[in-house]
């Protein structure tokens, strides 16, 4: 009885060992397989970089960009509130730009109005026709210059162009006209008297 039991135990041991051997062999074969079996479908991604901009990272970037845009409009909102609270415009004091004799037809003179950092251009279009604009491009504030050859105001940064007679953009990225400076001729000189506000 005892012998039988021993044999049975030994056999059971044999079966177990055989089973383990089988399993090991199977595992060996499985590990040797190419491609290596995985269940997350990412075994074929070899470069770390490929995972940097997956779908989720892209969505995170978009949310971040939305945040940046939200913050970037805050100063404009604050300025608008200030503008609403401030009410109407205050009149700027007149400024003598240049003598008429110093400005030949087709030439331009640079000045600053109303503040000393608000650079502007006075253009003598014909004998008695003067136009002045604040010459910060309405796209990204590059200084616009007067091109006599092209007969228009040109922004060198992104090839924007403005009509010298109306200040309206004619080419390139700018969308708004240049702010026009109001002029007055008096005693052989040209004076700036104010900045014309947009009419819409």
């Amino acid at each position: 009885m005892d012998k039988d039991q021993d044999q049975e135990v030994q056999c059971a041991e044999c079966v177990k060992q055989k089973h383990i051997q089988n399993l090991q062999q199977k595992q060996q074969r499985k590990n040797d397989q190419i491609p290596f079996e995985e269940n997350n479908y990412t075994h074929n991604i070899r470069k770390g970089d490929e995972r940097l901009l997956d779908r989720r990272a892209f969505m995170k970037t978009m949310v971040g960009a939305a945040g940046v845009f939200a913050v970037s409009t805050l100063p404009w909102g604050a300025l608008a509130v200030k503008g609403l609270a401030g009410g109407g415009h205050q009149d700027d004091p007149p400024l003598r730009i240049t003598d008429i004799a110093d400005l030949p037809v087709g030439e331009a003179a640079k000045f600053a109005y109303p503040g000393k950092h608000d650079s502007a251009l006075l253009i003598r279009l014909s004998e008695n026709e003067y136009k002045a604009y604040q010459n910060a491009c309405t796209h990204l504030k590059c200084p616009v210059f007067w091109s006599k050859e092209k007969d228009e105001l040109v922004c060198p940064c992104h090839h924007g162009a403005f009509d010298a007679r109306t200040g309206k953009p004619t080419a390139g990225p700018p969308q708004r006209p240049l702010p026009e400076v109001l002029l007055r001729q008096e005693g052989g000189a040209v004076y700036a008297t104010g900045v014309k506000h947009y009419e819409t």
Partner: protein
Amino acid sequence: MKRSWRGVILLCIVLFLNIICTQKAVNAYYFEHYRSVIMYALFNILLFPAAYLIYRRERDVR
């Protein structure tokens, strides 16, 4: 692994609206339409939590 592009498309739309609102706000400021500026700025700010909610909903989908 189920893949859904809904969130990506919605976020693209949100970002597009962001760009439009920023542009409109800046232009309205120079045209001195201050009320419009405040409206666009508020809308832009509201778009941010909207974008975050869209992201959260997509992330938590199982």
